[in-house]
């Protein structure tokens, strides 16, 4: 069959909202875009473990520690679901990882910020996982089957992440003056980077139109960012905390909150490797990979030995 006809069939499927599965014909550009999008997403889950892992041993109670451990373990799981989904497109896991480790691949800019206090665990769960949920829920209907299915699993698990974060913020904001200050300080530092998680403005974002056409993006960056702001402002009010944006106000006419200008220079600076923790994150990943090499080799050697013994 010639490519034009295949492409026409593919587009018809997309229009009818029929999922594309791994062995189906797909345009090369669709495959490449998905590989980039899914692997970036997987890398974000994996690198996303690092800022929080920092606090597991410092959690203020056993209850908090158990939750932090479970959350970080979930993020590892999310990375694994997504790497498997990505591999169905014909790439090798090790190649994806080596792109991450060399710094060639991107991951969410948010994880290049430091976690300075326990309140950051609250702010991350509430805001960062909250923003991730905004992004991920529509992707449960993504046109690529394995990706959509992975997102369904991820979304089911994310809800607890956000709730445990908000609970931390709630406890702190109802606590002593020092605790309340800690919570406000965390909100101050995480608010703007969380808004940046949705990516550049629609005017700036190169891939949006094609990705919407292909059903691998369901809302634009600005639409999602607005949804996030609208959902989060009342939550901050409930905590009695102040969102660090003097331009933030309800716009009756639009039926949405207006908010101030985002510092895009900061965003592009962090994305291109110059955030406060980019180096630390990549070093940690590389160290884990290198120091785990003997484990991967030993497991292979053991498997081979067992297989030989079985054959004998």
């Amino acid at each position: 069959m010639d490519t034009a006809l295949l492409e026409q069939r593919f587009n018809e499927k997309i229009d009818r909202d029929v999922r594309i599965e791994p062995k189906d014909w797909m345009p090369d550009h669709y495959r490449k875009t998905l590989i980039r999008q899914i692997s970036q997403h997987a890398h974000s889950e994996i690198v996303g473990m690092l800022p929080e892992a920092n606090w597991i041993t410092r959690a203020p109670s056993l209850r908090r520690k158990a939750a932090a451990l479970a959350k970080v373990q979930d993020e590892a799981g999310h990375g694994l679901y997504l790497y498997s989904a990505c591999e169905t497109l014909g790439v090798e896991r090790d190649d994806l990882l080596s792109d991450l480790h060399s710094g060639k691949a991107k991951y969410s800019s948010i994880f290049n910020y430091p976690t300075l206090s326990w309140a950051d665990m609250g702010a991350i769960g509430w805001l960062v996982d909250g923003a991730a949920i905004m992004n991920q829920v529509p992707l449960c209907r993504a046109s690529y089957g394995p990706y959509a299915r992975a997102m369904v699993r991820v979304c089911k698990e994310e809800s607890f992440h956000q709730r445990q974060g908000y609970e931390i913020m709630l406890t702190l904001s109802k606590g002593s003056e020092v605790q309340k200050k800690m919570a406000q300080d965390a909100l101050n530092r995480w608010w703007w980077p969380s808004l940046m998680m949705f990516g550049p403005t629609d005017a700036e974002s190169k891939h949006t139109e094609q990705s919407m056409r292909w059903g691998i993006k369901r809302f634009t960056n600005d639409e999602l960012r607005q949804k996030f702001v609208d959902a989060t402002v009342p939550q901050a009010d409930l905590l009695g905390l102040t969102i660090p944006d003097k331009d933030l106000k309800w716009n009756e006419e639009r039926g949405h909150y207006d908010f101030g200008a985002i510092n895009w220079d900061e965003f592009f600076n962090v994305i291109s490797g110059n955030g406060p923790c980019n180096k630390q994150r990549l070093d940690a990943r590389n160290k884990a990979w290198e120091e785990g090499a003997w484990v991967r080799e030993a497991a292979n050697a053991y498997a081979e030995k067992k297989a030989k013994r079985k054959a004998a």
């Binding site: 062995k23 373990q73 979930d74 799981g77 694994l80 498997s84 591999e87 090790d94 991967r296 080799e297």
Partner: protein, 94 residues
């Protein structure tokens, strides 16, 4: 020596009485490790009571290009369905 762990497909029975269902894949050095990893990756919230793993290379799949000739012939055989047969209304429960 740098050999990647092979890829395994994971099937999970969510509760007794139901089929094992494909849930995704993972890498492991051998079958035993694949089961252990599947437990950690796919059943952190009581999603299963039984796990099957099979190395991905052992799965043979039909070609989506053949879908027409494979499944089309079933479409015009409406007489395989109970509603094809006209029976009087007085006849209840059949």
């Amino acid at each position: 020596m740098n050999k990647n762990w092979p890829l395994w497909e994971v099937f999970i029975r969510s509760k007794a009485g139901l089929n094992h269902k494909h849930v995704g894949s993972l890498h492991a050095a051998d079958a035993e490790m694949a089961i252990q990893n599947a437990r950690d990756v796919y059943t952190r919230r009581n999603e299963g009571v039984s796990i099957w793993v099979v190395e991905s290379k052992h799965i043979t799949a039909s070609d989506p290009e053949d879908a027409d000739q494979m499944y089309e012939p079933a479409k015009d055989k409406v007489y395989r369905h109970p509603t094809f047969y006209n029976l009087p209304d007085e006849l209840k429960h059949m």
